[in-house]
Symmetry: C2
Subunit: 459 residues, 2 copies
């Protein structure tokens, strides 16, 4: 059944845990475009950002040149509770697919937050603590990021205020309870606790909230409460920096078993997991040392890379955040309500957007029914129930492996298994009952949201 | 913060995964009493058991003498997808408790079933497959065992029919959907599919079911369908045999880091996890090679060891299963409905019962509010949301560590962290809202259920 020389799971030792995060921007010939102040149209300065974000995180956000940022010992100690994460050889999936391809996945779901989000949550919470802050604020939709952050804050004794989109707060009580168990205060958004919340509630008394509104409330709560800052779980450069620990570990594990991947696949919402997974491999490609294929996989219902435009846009639907140059569907774009698999962000990390624009990475969009088919097939042979988000990458990995069956190529495929689906069983139920459908935005839908892009001065 | 020489997590390599299960019975001077046929009062023979259980499993069930049963390669390959499981040093918990004690836990929750149950599920499914059977039947309450079995059956291509207590089927849809995703058929019990189900539905049209009734339906479905057998997730000798992989790995990991535990703690419902964890350590004690303290922790609302009697009793509330000699509260005992933490079985493994009777193990009962307090404290510093069942062991481990703080003793404590609490968030919510209460059966309650023990001939 398998080549006994390569284990099912390759673990690094705790001594081999990376000691520094890798900043991919340092090796990019064309740097990602800077964030702009929506009022002035000029690049945001550290001074403008520090009332919102922690100082060290602002430094990391703006630094396009330093290749390595040392990981503080306290963060490495926290990492040791759930890292290094395993690089898994998918022997059973290979057998089921009857493919000559060798499939590996880097599994980030073995922690209570159930995803890779914890890698950046502990870093952001740590720098807040170091700065002497009392606490942080954030928003959460389905709750994956909020859960990760609540674990990090509980560990450090930092206060956490989560604004959770009201409809999720009511319909996904389990995520909410995990956050509460970790001591976070969780407020359904819109709330009466902020000016923007009160204004929205007055205008739309029956609203069930939106991520854009929750972001606005979280930012306001951070700015107006002394000793608080706002933190965000994806999209930002700092988040991709922290998530580089995924790729660094994967690369070291491959070196340990003497294997080099040919294709590297990750799902893409805001880009935090994909950016982290590919970072050191992409670095080699940028420096001309090695070549790899990279594939970003996005939902057909929210196809930023494959059908968006590369332009400056707001990061939030509320249009209060900075402007970022990225592949975007327009900040007013809302993916269809039937899309269950996360990855609902209209834009994309500026780093990944630049790499894609420069032809260094491929992208493809997949429909959700085929994503859940891949999830089911994977779960049944590999024994892990994957998150719907991660299953986008599984879909593409299976497709690549099936192509190898046709061509006879023995390619080595690596994909990121970002998390587990234990809190996504309503979506699985829909799939099990045969009730899942696919919706793809029409060209008219996209034209409507893309036309609304903000005007910015020419660079 | 910590002694850098001992890692947070000690993993064995896949080569070091045990090659044989250890049968503790082989080293017991007083063997566990045999199962009796409730009709004849005589020990059950292999011939009587094979219509219900697979042949190899019957052999394992009845063998009190063979010390080691080789683990087939196919089962070891499956184990490699989620084993060896880590032996974790609870550095953060030690720091929070400010104790000189060294705390370790063996973590069995890093698999999609979320518990140790998978260790026996794959073994039982494997032997069914080997015997050329089409499928197996079982019952499940909260769904932990059913989930594990559905994963094992999906992997082997074996049909699985789960009778799920109707109230759980309706109130815990997520566990049900995991089983369905793994291809199991899940029927709410009582159902119209069995004679016993139809009879019960006729008598009690509005019933929401019981574990006793689900067992009866699963056994009937196994016996009446050619090519099917019945499987069970705890209590039985064969289950403790398979679960010995937990203890064997823990012992090997301790040897790797040069540590010897003083106290070994596990939660006890039917006894599968505790029996598996302590097996090789208890073997050393029985052979006079080493000494350890063993502590079984049970809920105060279902206190088989601490307030039950050591006598022959039915294993099921429906009184159709064999009689087992064990610590029991009487098969008619039902723990209070407010008890959220599992471990609701009225009896106990015959192996553990004999060991406790012979003074080789201690037992204590803990109340559920204090169990959830321990769970919360553990989750916040160690980053894992524990299952309520496992949290009984955490409670006792914390209590032992706090005692060490008083006495200054540097004891080494090992406890079994059997699983995660991702599907128990309704109970956590109750706790977070301050609505959790404790109920303990009165002496009169116990007198009522214990007086109903069956009469069996004197041995």
């Amino acid at each position: 059944m398998k080549n006994q020389e390569i284990p099912y799971k390759t673990y690094l030792t705790e001594q081999e845990l990376p000691t520094a995060w890798y900043n991919l921007r340092a090796d990019m010939k064309t740097k990602p475009a800077p964030l702009l102040n929506p009022g002035t149209g000029k690049p945001l300065t550290a001074q403008e950002l520090t009332p919102i974000f922690c100082e060290e995180l602002v430094r990391q956000e703006l630094d396009n040149d330093t290749a390595f940022f040392p990981i503080p010992d306290e963060i490495r100690d926290f990492y040791k509770m759930y890292r290094p994460s395993p690089l898994v050889r998918a022997y059973c999936l290979e057998k089921v697919l009857d493919t000559p391809a060798k499939i590996y996945y880097k599994f980030e779901g073995n922690n209570t937050s159930g995803s890779h989000k914890l890698n950046s949550a502990i870093a952001q919470a740590y720098y807040a603590k170091q700065q002497g802050l009392k606490g942080v604020t954030t928003e959460t939709g389905a709750g994956q990021w909020g859960t990760a952050l609540s674990m990090a804050c509980a560990y450090l004794g930092l206060d956490l205020k989560v604004f959770m989109v009201k409809v999720s707060y009511e319909q996904k009580p389990f995520r909410r309870e995990v956050m509460r168990t970790y001591g976070a205060s969780v407020t359904p958004s819109p709330s009466m606790e902020t000016e923007v919340g009160r204004r929205i509630l007055e205008e739309f008394p029956g609203t069930t909230g939106s991520l854009g509104c929750a972001i606005s409330e979280a930012v306001e709560a951070a700015v107006k409460n002394p000793g608080y800052r706002y933190v965000l779980g994806s999209v930002l450069n700092q988040v991709l920096l922290h998530q580089s620990v995924i790729g660094l570990e994967a690369k070291a594990a491959f070196e340990k078993i003497g294997v080099k991947p040919d294709v590297i696949i990750g799902c893409a919402g805001g880009g935090s997991n994909l950016g982290g997974l590919i970072a050191p491999f992409m670095g080699e490609k940028l420096r001309g040392e090695e070549d790899y294929r990279f594939i970003a996989v996005e939902p057909a219902s929210c196809p930023s890379f494959t059908r968006g435009v590369f332009a400056y846009d707001f990061c939030d639907t509320g249009m209060i955040c900075p402007l970022a140059k990225m592949y975007t569907l327009g900040s007013s774009f809302i993916p269809s309500a039937n899309h269950a698999g996360g990855l609902r962000f209209h834009g994309m990390s500026t780093i990944l957007s630049q790499l894609y624009h420069d032809g260094l990475m491929e992208a493809r969009a997949v429909e959700q029914t085929s994503v859940f088919q891949a999830a089911e097939q994977f779960a049944r042979c590999e024994g892990i129930l994957p998150a719907p988000e991660s299953s986008h990458a599984i879909r593409a990995a299976i497709d690549e492996a099936l192509r190898c069956r046709e061509t006879g190529e023995e390619k080595t495929i690596l994909f990121g298994l970002t998390g587990t689906g234990y809190f996504d069983l309503t979506a699985y139920q829909q799939f099990n009952d045969g009730l899942m459908t696919d919706t793809v935005p029409t060209d008219e839908d996209l034209a409507r949201s893309i036309v609304a892009l903000p005007k910015v001065p020419e660079e």
